[in-house]
């Protein structure tokens, strides 16, 4: 398999956008292409990640549309839909194209514009990823699945609401350092948990999860430029190598899992990614996890191997996952503060890590980061893509 390098990364500010879907994708793509500065190297493949455009924006064939918008003909083009893991899946497809020798330069862009519908419709659109006959039909939504998961997980491992609040506080603080983050607002333990007013400030969404345990619904796009070793050698700037990618699946319905608190797909995808990279979780300097709900940052960090089962919330208490901790998690603000335009999320995680490894993350830069890990969590853990990136010294 041939090596794959990330040489360009860009994104739009996440939030609520008036731009069209393709404009969002184009702006992020142009930012990544400018960052890559490919010169006369043509982009020979375009992969677009998206989950809901067919339903929410009445638009399909996004790969062709983006190629046309950017005049990248006759590049190969396709769109990838894999629920909330669409972004990392599209990235995997782009990597495969280069690793196989089919392409030398690939543009991978994730995009979602979901604020065009109201919250109820948006929640229903995302819920369509659940098992149709035993979950969706009974009104299951992602917040309700996460609520049930959180209750079980907290009961089993002694996690308390204060630990969830610590994650929200950390990620909101990181978000204020990220100009692309949807939410630029710090929150405090008093304001969301301990003050009498916290009951109003932070109302229940799906107990035990409250408002500040849930990510916002966002519009946005993120983009990466991937190239072969030969092309990378011609380009200036730090090189970020795709060291490992792992993907794994689990049962569609959460209740069919032997232990619903065991995120088996995260564990296996991570093992595969680390194995391919020849690395271990201890080698990781910075991680982006899929914290659509605060409980998921805890559970994923354990399943990925960073902490023992039942140990993540204790590490959070010790401040280990803060920007200045031993393993900073979600320096971008995570989905919690950066936002969650579903199809763009997996790409945006890797954009953040590429910037971190290149030393371009500004105020939220993790000093000396050389190895990075991302977990893009699809479905409710039934399709997960894990990625390990490594900075290569030139």
């Amino acid at each position: 398999m041939k090596p794959v390098y990330i040489v360009g990364a860009g994104m739009t500010k996440f939030g609520r956008s008036e731009w069209s879907l393709i404009k969002l994708a184009s702006v992020a793509s142009l930012a990544a292409l400018r960052h890559a500065n490919l010169g006369d190297v043509p982009v020979d493949s375009v992969v677009v990640a998206n989950m809901g455009a067919a339903r929410v924006n009445r638009q399909t064939a996004l790969g062709s549309a983006l190629v046309d918008q950017l005049a990248l003909y006759p590049a190969m083009a396709e769109a990838v839909e894999n629920g909330p893991a669409s972004g990392a899946s599209a990235f995997k497809v782009g990597c495969q194209a280069i690793a196989s020798g089919m392409a030398s330069a690939v543009l991978v862009t994730g995009v979602e514009r979901m604020r065009v519908v109201n919250g109820l419709e948006g929640t229903d659109f995302v819920a369509s990823l659940s098992q149709p006959e035993v979950e969706y039909i009974y009104g299951v939504t992602l917040p309700s699945l996460a609520g049930m998961f959180a209750r079980l997980f907290m009961d089993r491992f002694g996690v308390e609401r204060k630990h969830l609040a610590m994650i929200a506080i950390k990620n909101h603080e990181n978000g204020t350092k990220n100009p692309y983050a949807h939410i630029q607002q710090t929150v405090t333990m008093e304001g969301i948990l301990t003050a009498p007013e916290a009951a109003v400030n932070n109302p229940p969404i799906a107990e035990p999860l409250h408002l500040f345990d849930c990510c916002p619904v966002s519009d946005g796009a993120a983009s990466l430029v991937l190239v072969s070793e030969e092309v990378a050698a011609k380009l200036a700037g730090p090189k970020v190598r795709v060291a490992g990618i792992g993907q794994a699946t689990d049962t569609h319905a959460v209740h069919e899992r032997e232990d619903p608190t065991d995120l088996k797909a995260v564990r296996i995808a991570s093992e595969r990614a680390f194995s391919m990279a020849g690395a271990t979780p201890r080698d990781v300097d910075v991680a982006e996890l899929h914290d659509a709900f605060t409980i998921l940052e805890i559970a994923e960090s354990e399943a990925a191997g960073f902490f023992d089962r039942g140990g993540a919330h204790l590490a959070i208490e010790r401040g280990e996952t803060r920007l200045d901790g031993a393993l900073p998690i979600n320096p971008s603000g995570g989905l919690k503060a950066k936002g969650h335009p579903v199809g763009a999320t997996g790409v945006a995680q890797l954009v953040e890590l590429a910037w971190q490894l290149r030393g371009e993350a500004g105020e939220r830069q993790v000093k000396g980061a050389k190895t990075a890990y991302a977990c893009n969590f699809g479905g409710f853990g039934n399709n997960v893509v894990a990625t390990v990136l490594r900075r290569e010294e030139t």
Partner: protein, 231 residues
């Protein structure tokens, strides 16, 4: 002079005795303290200044809420509306939002508008709750007539409390079929939705004596989000 005063008097609606809203302090999610207090007529001009840039913000129906509120505040200042009151939320003295309404009679109140400038901290939710608190607890009214002019308002008031339909009554805001918050429903919702501490610490109160306006571009950015740059 007397003829003018007499004419002016005849132009003014009759007025009831209205209690003052006792100020309260609320800890927001950010940890900041928001003081909620009633404003006097002479403070209306500064509120109009805050509202003015929002007259052209279409997002979330700010334009119509701002335009109607502008007129309602002028009517309050110029004595052309019956028994109106205005409450503001101030964070370190800076205007975070405002609400208004009026008393229809001793038993019934009418909610007018809720306008949030500092978004994302449930400021509007707190201020709307303060407004209901004023009608039910301080004015001793039995019910408040309410409509929403935006989907956000509908979710916040009609669904969260929840309100009851009183569709045979046309609300003053456009003749929209009215909803109502009865006293019992208010007390049922109070633990979830009404908060704040009294008395307010002297220092906090002093900081909220004068209304400070955020800069115009700050107001618009907080309300409508960052302007997207074209590439």
């Amino acid at each position: 002079m007397a003829r003018i005063s007499e004419l002016e008097a005849s132009l003014r609606p009759p007025a009831m005795d209205m209690p003052l809203y006792p100020p309260k302090a609320i800890t927001l999610a950010s940890g900041e303290q928001m003081v909620v207090r009633q404003v006097e007529r002479d403070e209306v001009p500064i509120l109009l200044e805050a509202i003015y840039p929002l007259l052209w913000v279409e997002r979330d129906f700010y334009d119509i809420v701002a335009a109607r509120l502008f007129g309602e505040l002028l009517a309050y200042k110029r004595y052309r509306v019956k028994d109106e009151y205005v409450l503001v939320g101030l964070i370190d003295g800076v205007l975070a939002g405002m609400v208004n309404g009026r008393l229809v009679d001793e038993k019934t109140g009418m909610s007018y508008h809720t306008l949030t400038i500092r978004r994302g901290l449930r400021v509007g939710s707190h201020l709307f709750a303060a407004k209901m608190e004023y009608h039910i607890e301080h004015c001793g009214q039995e019910e408040v007539l309410i409509v929403a002019e935006s989907p956000i308002g509908f979710r916040r008031w009609m669904i969260e409390y929840p309100l009851e339909k009183r569709f045979e009554v046309q609300h003053e805001l456009g003749g929209v079929p009215s909803w109502v918050l009865p006293r019992d429903t208010y007390y049922g919702a109070k633990p979830r939705l009404v908060s704040g501490r009294r008395p307010v610490a002297e220092e906090l109160l002093r900081g909220a004596e004068r209304i400070v306006l955020p800069r115009e571009e700050t107001v618009v950015r907080q309300v409508a989000g960052d302007k997207e740059e074209t590439e």
